[in-house]
């Protein structure tokens, strides 16, 4: 029997980026908030200790800070005809665990999606006609750039994002990204120092006619006191960034930006090492009454709350909805239902890798988001003569030179023995690459549901991913890859190699932790799981955070937009919902 706990105004399931943002905003509005996190408490001084953080084996290879599959695994297959099997180890993407979630060990690329991304279907239909994206289930988001611009701004000033604005109040700024949506003001901090590779890319891309700029980074460029009054330090380019916690208070994470303020509040409580199993509904199915969670000794608790915020990372939120029977599950055969719909990823592959005799890059002087980018081939480029929609943000920079993960050698080099050693010693530090992060568009048959066979420690079905890269996205990625190769050639490398994007999403090698869709937002309850405020259409006191709300994925890392949507939802809750609980949009 579950122990019944005293009622709270709000319970937040998961305490990573979105959980921390919602907790901060809702406690500011005077609500009594409880966050439940299944991983341990973690903080900079104790857990991201400079004395032992730079340990590649422990943190990057054995991945100590991440979710371990023994706690929650996911099954995968590439299409409906295959039998999904569990990813016995995570590889292609690496979900977070513990206080701060993946916000602890992310890279820190902090993007705003393009203004056109939010109205993608309308935009593409107007520009090219709907036939252009036949076969893709592209949708509008139900929210526009102008509506959420201030939410992006809010996140950037909490996170101390370092960058150069491209367009402020409609005016293009030299040195920034001219293709970005118009923003209300400059970034809070200037760009990071530019490494050699980024400077070569900037020069080559400019000569090629592109518009390169420093990528917006949540690895921050100077000491900064954020909008909540929390002090952050200057990034030291340590090269132990993604997969690691930052020992310098320089990478925006819930710990370095929000928790020092939040944890002091009387109306906030955090319970760690407690895993939420289900959201329990009232008999009419229209509202949630409580969540059930279990502690590490196996004791069960029922926690009643008036409002439930799902903030357990997109994939986990979708699974929690399916397990809790919130929203109608998507069926790819009939194309009906909403939970699990429009699962997308980030398209990768393609791009150019260069080896130089006469250039030395010192890749170990890196930061997670240290790079320069160009958005000339992003989703809003002119597709009229191209056989695809979507695009890619391209760039070059240094995140790390950690040798277990990366030891480039020229093509044809053996992988061991004396020749391998010689080539490794000669090549290390002489390589730069130009690569891209591609959009990923939804198509029928790519979706999330519950696995029929494999279960977790509590006997509950695992989440199942059915996904492969759509042909459109492969054509897009390879076309952009060819442009990268052309730019790379102008740098006259000794050896130039290029990759190709391929069908057959492989769950083993790391790609990105940018899983999107499955509980998408929109204007129509028949094709979206949550409304424009991330409120579930059916269960009105459940709000679902995370990239699961994206109808399709854009050509950039998701968290800037995930955070903006979290602020957008929090604003709707604090200004409208608490005054008059119930659906914010009539179905």
């Amino acid at each position: 029997m579950a122990k019944l706990m005293p009622r709270r105004d709000v319970v937040i399931v998961g305490f990573g980026w979105t959980g921390a943002i919602l907790a901060q905003e809702l406690t500011e509005a005077g609500l009594d908030v409880l966050a439940i996190e299944r991983g341990p408490w973690r903080d900079t001084a104790t857990d991201f200790n400079i004395g032992y953080m730079p340990d590649e084996l422990r943190y990057a290879i054995r991945r100590e800070l991440f979710l371990q599959p023994s706690q929650e695994a996911i099954t995968m297959r590439n299409d409906l005809t295959q039998t999904a099997l569990p990813m016995r180890d995570y590889g292609s993407f690496l979900p977070g665990a513990g206080v701060g979630g993946a916000g602890v060990h992310w890279n820190g690329f902090s993007w705003r999606y393009l203004a056109s991304d939010f109205i993608l279907k309308t935009h593409l239909t107007q520009k090219y006609g709907a036939k252009k994206f036949d076969g893709l289930t592209i949708q509008d988001w139900g929210v526009t750039w102008d509506e959420i611009e201030h939410c992006f701004d809010k996140f950037e000033y909490v996170a101390g994002v370092s960058g150069k604005a491209g367009v402020i109040k409609g005016v293009v700024q030299p040195g920034g990204n001219p293709f970005e949506g118009s923003r209300s003001r400059e970034y809070p901090n200037p760009p990071l120092k530019m490494p050699y590779s980024s400077s070569l890319f900037t020069k080559a891309a400019t000569e090629y006619g592109l518009h390169p700029f420093p990528s917006p980074s949540a690895n921050i460029s100077r000491p900064y006191v954020n909008s909540l009054g929390v002090a952050m330090g200057e990034c030291t380019y340590c090269g132990y960034c993604e997969r690691f916690g930052c020992a310098n208070y320089s990478k925006a994470a819930p710990q370095t930006t929000i928790l020092p303020v939040l944890m002091k509040k009387d109306n906030f409580e955090l319970r760690t090492e407690s895993e939420v199993l289900t959201v329990n509904l009232h008999p009419d199915g229209k509202t949630a009454k409580s969540v059930t969670y279990v502690d590490t000794s196996g004791n069960e608790y029922e926690q009643p709350a008036d409002l439930v915020i799902m903030a357990g990372y997109g994939l986990m939120n979708v699974r929690m909805m399916l397990l809790s029977r919130i929203g109608k599950p998507y069926d790819p055969n009939t194309n009906e239902g909403v939970v699990g719909r429009n699962y997308c990823y980030q398209t990768g592959g393609g791009g150019a890798s260069m080896i130089f005799d006469d250039k030395r890059f010192n890749p170990f002087m890196g930061a997670g988001a240290l790079s320069s980018s160009a958005h000339d081939f992003n989703s809003d480029m002119d597709h009229s003569k191209l056989d695809f929609v979507g695009g890619c943000s391209i760039g070059s920079g240094e995140s790390n030179g950690r040798p277990i993960q990366g030891r480039p050698t020229p093509p044809g080099t053996p992988r061991w023995g004396s020749k391998w050693k010689d080539a490794t010693a000669k090549t290390y530090g002489h390589v730069m690459s130009i690569g891209g992060s591609g959009s990923s568009y939804a198509q029928r048959g790519n979706y999330l549901d519950l696995d029929p066979t494999y279960t977790d420690n509590f006997g509950r079905p695992l989440l199942r991913i059915t996904f492969d890269f759509p042909d459109n996205d492969i054509r897009m990625q390879n076309w952009v890859g060819e442009q990268c190769v052309k730019i790379a050639k102008t740098l006259n490398p000794k050896i130039l190699t290029s990759g190709k994007a391929r069908k057959g999403w492989n769950s083993v090698p790391y790609q990105t932790t940018h899983n999107t869709g499955g509980a998408i937002m929109g204007a129509d309850p028949k094709t979206s799981a949550v409304n424009r405020y991330l409120q579930n259409w059916d269960v009105s006191n459940v709000f679902v955070m995370g990239a699961c709300a994206f109808p399709q994925n854009s050509a950039m890392n998701p968290t800037g937009t995930v955070a903006a949507l979290a602020y957008w939802a929090a604003e709707a809750i604090t200004t409208r919902y608490i005054k008059n609980p119930g659906p914010l949009v009539q179905a």
Binding site: P40, W41, A45, T46, D47, N49, I50, G51, Y52, P54, D55, E56, L57, R58, I61, Q68, P69, S70, Q71, A73, M76, R77, Q82, T83, L85, R88, D89, K193, Y196, T236, Y237, C238, G239, N248, M263, K264, D266, F268, E269, R271, T272, E273, S274, S297, R360, N362, F364, G401, R402, R407, W416, G417, S418, K421, Y428, T453, T455, G504, N506, V508
Partner: protein, 252 residues
């Protein structure tokens, strides 16, 4: 002696008890106070350097085989000592004896079905089990083909030919369902390279040999003064976690 005990008991989350972190009351006009975040002294979890003596998982004959293998994967030459002297066999032994060897944080529930390449390793054997079976199958194969000689007794060229045969799928060892010869080779190669390039803390990369070989400064944490010095070598040699802050982080 397959090491595939039920692993549930090892999971860290069942050892800890629920840790509730009550909000600390700060009064109506609370300032930022140094103890307002949950914090306890010495709560960090520094790594424990391995004990360099003895063997924890590998048997004496397995040690001889593994040392011979790592010395061919990473041969001694003017660039660095070989895999054996760099400590790669010790590294592998300690990894197999620990959580990695037991797969204790992986998803280990059945059914175990043959998978597609995109689905990753689907065998039932843990890494330690794979080594035990793989090393025995390798020795059986070598002895049958070389008039009773063991892998370590062959010449370097012969050893290289066998390793290439495993890598390229030209030799098929008798292993187990869901565990192919190529996968065995990949495991050996992966772990050897991990040992060679990881912090010396874990038993390999003795004297930071690999880091010196490629020019990687190891555990250094501040390059602000160097990022914009284009096309110039970094002037300082490597440091390791062990050498970086002696005194406090080797406790425990």
């Amino acid at each position: 002696m397959l090491d595939n005990r039920p692993l549930k008991m090892c999971r860290r989350r069942f050892l800890a008890s629920v840790a509730a972190l009550p909000a600390l009351t700060g009064g109506a006009f609370a300032h930022t106070m140094p103890h307002s975040l949950p914090w306890s002294p010495f709560a960090g979890d520094p790594p424990k350097p391995i004990n360099p003596l003895g063997w924890y998982f590998l048997t004496p004959s397995e040690v001889i085989t593994v040392e011979a293998i790592v010395d061919r994967l990473i041969p001694a030459d003017h660039l660095s000592p070989g895999g054996k002297d760099a400590g790669c066999a010790v590294f592998i032994d300690r990894q197999l004896a620990g959580s990695f060897g037991k797969s204790s944080h992986l998803y280990n529930k059945g059914p175990f079905l043959p998978g597609l390449p995109t689905q990753g390793y689907q065998g039932e054997l843990t890494p330690s089990g794979r080594y035990r079976i793989g090393l025995k199958a390798l020795e059986d194969h070598v002895r049958a083909a070389n008039a009773g000689k063991s892998f370590a007794e062959l010449t370097g060229e012969q050893q290289d030919a066998i390793l290439s045969g495993l890598e390229e799928g030209k030799i098929t060892l008798k292993l187990a369902p869901g565990f192919s010869t190529r996968q065995f080779f990949e495991l050996l190669l992966q772990n050897t390279m991990e040992g060679f390039f990881a912090d010396p803390l874990y038993g390999g990369n003795k004297d930071m040999a690999s880091w010196k070989m490629i020019g990687f400064p190891g555990a250094r944490y501040d390059y602000r003064d160097y990022v914009e010095k284009y096309n110039q070598p970094y002037p300082h040699g490597p440091v390791s976690i062990m050498s970086g802050a002696p005194g406090w982080n080797v406790k425990g």
